[in-house]
């Protein structure tokens, strides 16, 4: 089946991101396709390129990136939610005259339309909230 995940919790602050990553791995392990993970609300923090948790703790940002790199899963971050929370890729940082950037591939800033697209075209959309 074709799955999509909507994640609305930031890493560490709640278990949402952990549960979502566990679920993502398990569904891929069962042979399903994960068509995309959409990050909205505080979920955009999962794309924070500068996250530096202690070595002996889960690294959610890297975890999502690994999933994307291993299985070709698109990681789509709502641009409006991201900008408000200080998550900008190089292009947006330049556009807003900011030094440095906080999002990089495989995370991609996209519009909310992508969420609806995923939700309406996939067999299952599972939401993980804080």
């Amino acid at each position: 089946m074709r799955y999509a995940i909507l994640l609305m919790g930031a890493p560490y602050s709640s278990q949402a991101a952990h549960s979502a990553l566990r679920f993502a791995r398990a569904l891929v392990g069962r042979g399903h396709r994960l068509e995309g993970v959409f990050f909205y609300h505080d979920g955009v923090h999962n794309a924070a390129r500068l996250a530096a948790p202690p070595q002996d703790e889960p690294h959610l940002v890297d975890g999502w990136a690994a999933l994307a790199n291993e299985h070709g899963v698109p990681l789509q971050v709502c641009i409006a939610a991201a900008l408000r929370r200080g998550l900008l890729d190089e292009r947006e940082a330049a556009r807003h005259g900011k030094q440095g950037h906080s999002i990089e591939p495989p995370f991609e800033l996209t519009g909310l339309g992508q969420l609806l697209d995923l939700g309406l075209s996939c067999d299952r959309l599972v939401t993980f909230g804080p």
């Binding site: 909507l6 519009g111 609806l116 939700g119 959309l125 909230g129």
Partner: protein, 127 residues
């Protein structure tokens, strides 16, 4: 749109709004998702549950620090062809509100009708 006999409500997307205005971003973000779906031509139903019903209290303003609030977005729903607005009847009672006293035309839905509303949409998002 009075509280008349139970009639099937179905559509592509049901957005359940459980939070009131200003206190958190949930209401705003839920409405944005609903508007985008409607802009893409989808049939969208909004269900205001629990505290979400306070989103429809008239006379709202922008926030103390200039936050936009959600009243302006709600005024735009009709323009986006989102006209199926449901409110949880129990929430109306809990918050001492009436259908007539809300800022938009809504239909009250009793608890017994909620499962059917939830089941009759292709996609359900909760905010």
């Amino acid at each position: 749109m009075a509280n008349d006999k139970a009639q099937g409500v179905e559509g592509d997307l049901l957005v359940i709004l459980r939070h009131g205005p200003h206190g958190t971003s949930w209401l705003r973000e839920g409405l944005d998702a609903a508007l985008v779906a409607a802009a893409f031509g989808r049939k969208v139903t909004l269900l205001f549950m629990g505290e979400g019903i306070t989103a429809l209290v008239p006379g709202q303003t922008s926030g103390p620090l200039g936050q936009k609030g959600t009243a302006p977005t709600l005024e735009m729903l009709e323009m986006y062809d989102i006209d199926t607005l449901l409110v949880e009847a129990e929430a109306l009672e809990r918050f001492g509100l009436t259908v007539e006293g809300l800022m938009l035309p809504v239909r009250a839905v009793a608890a017994s009708q909620l499962p059917a509303v939830t089941a009759d949409h292709s996609l359900v998002l909760t905010f």
